[in-house]
Symmetry: C2
Subunit: 369 residues, 2 copies
């Protein structure tokens, strides 16, 4: 068995942490990319206290509506076509407007006054240099949208909010705050603001504005480079597990796995674990990588290093520290409490977001209680 267990209580706890950090802001809980790999259906019930959810594609928005999410849905890259804009109206989806074509679709097809699509998230490029209008563009767009009856939320995206010392942060914050002030004065006092993703929520408490947009923090990973998930009192919402499928002894000097990357310094007891990159465990990982085995024979936990190359369907771990009665089919935790997915990500030279999103369909998905 390969299993991915989702923990609703952890999600709810992490959402509560966000609300403690940003008590006066509304919360748009990011559930794009299948809720960061956790599964939208599995997380929505635990996120009922969020004011809205954020998704990246219209298909994700429609899935959430179908699952019964009746509150705000923010489509954070907006409609890709005029047809998508029409569908957004039909499904009461609030869209980002980040460039001229989307502005035209919105002005050409104004939703009914009662529609949630009347709320648009107007994207200002403050330094990420991906999506968004420049200063002049955003002022023009805001004026036109307001005149057409839209309610506006000015939004932007940080490039380096994970690193509070990065000089671009102050510049992005200043540009955003200045523009929000301009729009309030020249367009409407009712223009709202949304600046902070997870890292911004943690690092820039004085700039939370009307809506915060937590993503990774909801799933229990740290969004910042200088504080761990534990320090932030976050709980991992996923446990990714497999099992021991064989026990072996590798003779001294014999190498293990593809590329013969790891050679046994002496006769070494190893265990084979039914997990691999075909499940989403990263193929390239440092020699510091480890898993936790819960030995079915004694219910004790053992920390075991990953040895050699991760294969598609299998890894080999060092079972030296395990007792003679180590049981076949013992549970192996790839990530969860320990190792935390942030730790595995650092061993894989990436961030937890990627590991979570790139899980395959092979592991069975289980909801914890």
């Amino acid at each position: 068995m390969r299993t991915i267990t989702i923990k609703p209580k952890a999600l709810t706890h992490n959402l509560y942490q966000v609300k403690k950090l940003a008590p006066s802001a509304k919360v748009l809980a990011m559930v794009k990319s299948n809720a960061y790999g956790h599964g939208v259906a599995a997380v929505l019930p635990a996120l009922q206290q969020a004011d809205g959810i954020g998704v990246a594609t219209l298909a994700e928005a429609l899935e959430a509506r179908q699952l019964g999410w009746h509150k705000t849905i923010g489509l954070i890259e907006g409609a890709f076509t005029a047809d998508e804009w029409q569908t957004a109206i039909a499904q009461d989806i609030s869209c980002v407007i980040h460039h001229e074509p989307q502005l035209m679709w919105a002005l050409d097809n104004i939703p009914p006054a009662s529609s949630a699509t009347r709320v648009v998230w107007l994207k200002y490029n403050t330094g990420m240099n991906r999506l968004g209008f420049d200063a002049k563009g955003v002022i023009d767009a805001a004026a036109q949208l307001h005149a057409a009856g839209y309610q506006l939320i000015l939004t932007t995206h940080f490039a380096n909010a994970d690193d509070s010392s990065h000089p671009l942060n102050a510049l992005q914050i200043q540009r955003f705050n200045d523009m929000l002030q301009i729009l309030k004065e020249t367009v409407s006092q009712e223009v709202k603001g949304s600046l902070c993703n997870s890292a911004g929520i943690v690092n820039f408490a004085e700039h939370h504005h009307d809506w915060v947009r937590p993503g990774i923090i909801l799933y229990g990973s740290s969004p910042v480079v200088d504080q761990s998930a534990a320090t932030l009192d976050l709980q991992p919402a996923m446990e990714f597990c497999a099992q021991i499928i064989a026990l072996q002894t590798v003779s001294a000097n014999d190498a293990i796995g593809y590329g013969s990357l790891w050679s046994a310094p002496h006769d070494t007891k190893t265990a084979l674990v039914s997990i691999g990159y075909g499940d989403g465990y990263p193929r390239v990982i440092s020699t510091d990588a480890y898993v936790t085995v819960i030995n079915a024979a004694d219910q004790q936990r053992y920390r075991c290093a990953v040895l050699g190359r991760v294969a598609m369907d299998m890894i080999v771990i060092d079972a030296s520290a395990m007792p003679a009665d180590t049981a076949l089919n013992s549970k192996v935790i790839l990530w969860g409490e320990a190792p935390h997915v942030d730790e595995v990500a650092s061993h894989a030279g990436t961030i937890s977001y990627e590991l979570l999103c790139r899980l395959s369909t092979r592991p069975a998905r289980i909801a914890a209680h």
Copy 2:
């Protein structure tokens, strides 16, 4: 739209290439890990000329049976429990036996003479040092299984077959061939042999024995380090695409995306593409990485470099070489004909196998004709 298009004709062509390389061997087509991310349901119709298929888990075997695959299914890590062994018998699945517990289950529960489970793949550890019996163990197991009425296929797995010059190859081949000879002489002349995966099929033509087990080669990637997929006349079975969702100009010295990794040397036209690691495109990729854009306005193909950090839902590409009339929603090829997935993998510091397996559920899956 994010799309994954599977090309049955390419799969069938690649299977034909395998048959040309190994004309006298039967073919166990590896479809584990959801057919290397291609989708089992999508590939089985194109692999009808294979003699059998190989899977890594019982769940994968049952899925293939449910999809109507009536020929051999080889479960390459065998049953994980005695119950799984019973299910294998009920579903006519041929199992690997690689360690003592599996041997016991097989001797305790002998399938009917007509059952395909009477054929067992007996795994010999010749140097991979993961699964398999040692020399004495394999001889003992073979004798017991033969006496119990099983038909045997001796099998092993290469650790370095992708690199024909690696010294372990000759040792593994010799150990395997010697053992097959011993089993034929001491157990039964009817013992069969299966040594070669994709790389072995290409590199060790004189050692194909009775069954070859092609995997990655069927999907159109090269299994060896010194020959490209084109040299081997393989066709990529997958095209992974997205679209341009915005066009921007980034000012000189401005940086793009998370971590501000890429700064524009001069004013630079960029395009935003609706793909990211949330779809399975690798997050960490070299500055050599590129995509192919088919401009909807002129139907011409343009090679565009990936700029800055790959995000969850989006990448930025260099659109300098594209004409003024570059159309929104133009198709962007992440991998397919060009770049080939092998090339993308090398830019990501891994192998195509991993990129293919770690695709997420977000891209829409399409069958080509």
